[in-house]
Amino acid sequence: MITERDLEAAYGAFTRLREAVETVIVGHESVVRAALIALLCRGNVLLEGVPGLGKTLLVRALAGALGLEFSRIQFTPDLMPADIIGTDIITEEDGHRRFVFSRGPVFANVVLADEINRATPKTQSALLEAMEERTVTVGAHTYALDEPYVVLATQNPIEMEGTYPLPEAQVDRFLLKATVAFPNLEELVDIATRTTEGGGIRLPEPVASAEDVLRARDVVREIPIAEGLRDYVGRLVLATHPGSAHAPAKIREFVEYGASPRGAIAAILAAKAHAFLAGEVNVRPSDIEAVFVPALAHRIILNFRGEAEGIRVGELLSDVWENVPAL
């Protein structure tokens, strides 16, 4: 059972972490919050946005503020799984040759999988075990990844030529999907100023430790969510299925498959983390509202008509939110 002191310590650590990241990243509060939520919930985040919006900088700033190991993998069509997870290589030591596992970039605390949809599905799938199980299996050996571990993957929504959309199984393993929007004028000017003046952007010093993150994870799991709200989340998830009696008309019309049970789990966990980051000790309806779209958007698969008509999943989820009453 956590104590009030644990809560205060965890909350203080993450407040410092957020402030440190925000010294580097201009705007993108929702994206920063999504990354922190993923860290708190032992999840991963899919960042979607055009190049040059600071996605990589965000991940590096987060890793720097936590004092954790950071790795970046640039996904390309010729990237192989061994390039990610590592491979056994022959080494000679004291006149004896033997195989030694050479760890790939997936062995870090914070992993940036840049433009993940440019690699082949085979390579993309190499991340599955690491993201879900926090382990990597090579040959007969399984290697555990160090906690905290978080994968932040990016994908470019515009350049679809030569890309490989992520398999549904892999998409489902991302706790949240955050859209990195283009900054407004004020933010753009601020970015330019920070980048072009003085010594440029400097990554933050560590303000929290891995232990702080692990303790905060325990605190988050203790945050209560009312039975009525759990029921509400369940109804929301069910309403994303076109066959559900609660599904709005647009869902029935444009959706092929609705959110999986992982969606409900992600929504509840993310709502807890959101409440924690807000300094609350219980999940509020507003917490669910804040994480509803990020937790479910990437789990909705449009049908042909939805794809053809360019339906935005966010709009469908807004429709679900409006049509499913909390009470």
């Binding site: 203790e222 209560p224 039975e227 009525g228 219980n282 309806p285 909390a326």
Partner: protein
């Protein structure tokens, strides 16, 4: 108020609300059905007993169902989680109360519980406003109570079917009289008093009663005038005009005298049987005379016995006039002829003329005589449009209100010339018309009125044909 006390109070209120909602539905459904029945029953042909049942059911069943619904509803597990969320939303507590309830189940000693309780406590006094009685529950309860009241009031106020309460009451009373022995409360029984239990033990009389009863039911179902009382107590004219009536004892005796006077042979088996059958309904003196006839061993003795029988039949003290006529029916296959009917009718007319002139037949002295007099006048009283000519007959004697349980007598306001109140001798409800004023025998069945009656009742073709046949039969072909 602490959190736990509040949750307990919320739970109690939820149970009461659920119970009230269930009770509302349980009350409304039977109450609505009772209200519909209370409206529908007066529009249909049912007995007052059915209306009474509807009224009682409307008074008893919905409240009982409501109480049972309340009991069942209070046993249902309340949806506390939803209610707490509703209170949270109403009091803007950001789901703290709901979360507090959740923590109380899992970690009541945690600091989260204490913090949430501290946040929620100042607002707990206002939780009731978040759980008002649902409008649909109030509506169901009010509507149910209104339906009950409506059903009870309608059952008590609305007139019986076809707005002819008197007619229905008479039919109903006649049914009750048939089913029960209350000889001193009704005209039927007062008339019956002249012949006592002998009549009720008579098979032929029972058959006649049953037949006439069925006909009365048919008439009542058609909304026509039914003869008050049962078949045996119907008006004398109706007896004589009955299609299935056999020859009277007078006719039988007259035919026996004629035959014995010519051939002098012994009584045939059929004649003996007819006499025995007639004796079952006859008063004691007549029965004795019949037995003498049957027991006579010689032709001379038989003639003497027949003379004595004729005397006993014609003697007024033997039995009241109506009973004599009614009980002297015999059920042979011999068809009554017009002459017999006319003679019988004239005999009864004479009796009534005497009565209207102030005299009372000796056999009808006292209450029985008065009742019988009423009985003789009752049929056709409502058939006012059939003939209003002539002065009312003997209205003064019946001016008093009828005794409880007896029939409300209807006077026939018409008399046809010197013949008197001919309509009194006609089966009530028979659609007749009078071709010539002042001639009683000129009355004949009105086919136009029959068709009008059949059309107005929306009878099936088979039933309509039965009605036509019936009217033709009882008027012996139309006159």
């Amino acid at each position: 108020m602490t959190y736990r006390e509040t949750v307990a109070a919320i739970e109690r209120r939820l149970r009461r609300l659920a119970a009230a909602t269930t009770a509302g539905v349980a009350l409304l459904v039977p109450a609505a059905a009772a209200a519909v029945a209370a409206v529908a029953v007066p529009l249909s042909v049912v007995s007052p007993t059915a209306r009474l049942v509807v009224g009682l059911a409307a008074l008893v069943v919905p409240p009982v169902a409501g109480v049972l619904g309340f009991a069942a509803g209070s046993r249902r597990t309340p949806r506390l989680a939803q209610a707490l969320l509703q209170i949270d939303a109403s009091l803007e507590l950001d789901a703290r109360l709901s979360s507090l309830h959740e923590v109380a189940k899992t970690a009541p000693d945690s600091f989260i519980f204490r913090r949430l309780e501290a946040d929620v406590s100042p607002h707990l006094d206002r939780w009731r406003k978040a759980l008002p009685v649902p409008a649909r529950t109030v509506a169901a309860l009010v509507a149910g109570a209104a339906c009950v009241a409506l059903a009870v009031v309608l059952s008590a106020v609305l007139p019986p079917p076809h707005a002819t309460s008197g007619r229905m009451d008479r039919v109903s009373t006649a049914e009750e009289v048939r089913g029960t022995d209350r000889p001193d409360e009704t005209i039927d029984s007062s008339v019956d008093g002249g012949i006592g239990d002998e009549r009720s033990s008579s098979a032929s009389a029972d058959e006649a009663t049953e037949t006439d009863g069925r006909l009365d039911h048919v008439l009542a179902d058609l909304g026509l005038e039914a003869a008050p009382g049962d078949g045996n107590a119907r008006a004398p004219g109706a007896v004589e005009l009955g299609v299935n009536d056999g020859p009277t004892l007078d006719e039988l005796v007259a035919s026996l005298r004629d035959r014995l006077g010519t051939d002098g042979t012994d009584l045939t088996v059929e004649e003996q049987s007819a006499l025995r059958e007639a004796s079952t309904d006859a008063p004691a003196p007549v029965r004795q005379a019949i037995e003498d006839v049957l027991a006579a061993s010689s032709d001379a003795e038989r003639r003497d016995a027949l003379d004595a029988l004729v005397t006993s039949v014609e003697t007024p003290e033997a039995a009241p006039q109506e009973e004599t006529v009614a009980s002297s029916r015999v059920t042979t296959e011999q068809e009554p002829d017009d002459e017999t009917a006319t003679i019988a009718g004239e005999q009864l007319l004479a009796g009534l003329e005497e009565e209207s002139a102030g005299g009372i037949p000796p056999a009808l002295e006292g209450d029985a005589a008065e009742d019988a007099t009423r009985e003789a006048r009752a049929p056709g009283a409502e058939d006012a449009e059939a003939g209003d000519e002539g002065p009312p007959v003997a209205a003064e004697e019946d001016a008093g209100a009828p005794a409880p349980g007896s029939y409300a007598l209807e006077r026939t306001p018409t008399a046809i010339g010197d013949e008197g109140d001919v309509k009194s001798y006609l089966t009530t409800g028979v659609p007749l018309e009078f071709a010539e004023e002042g001639r009683a025998a000129a009355a004949r069945v009105s086919y136009e009125r029959i068709e009008s009656i059949v059309a107005s009742r929306e009878l099936s073709p088979e039933a309509a044909q039965i009605v036509r046949t019936y009217f033709e039969a009882i008027t012996e072909g139309g006159s």
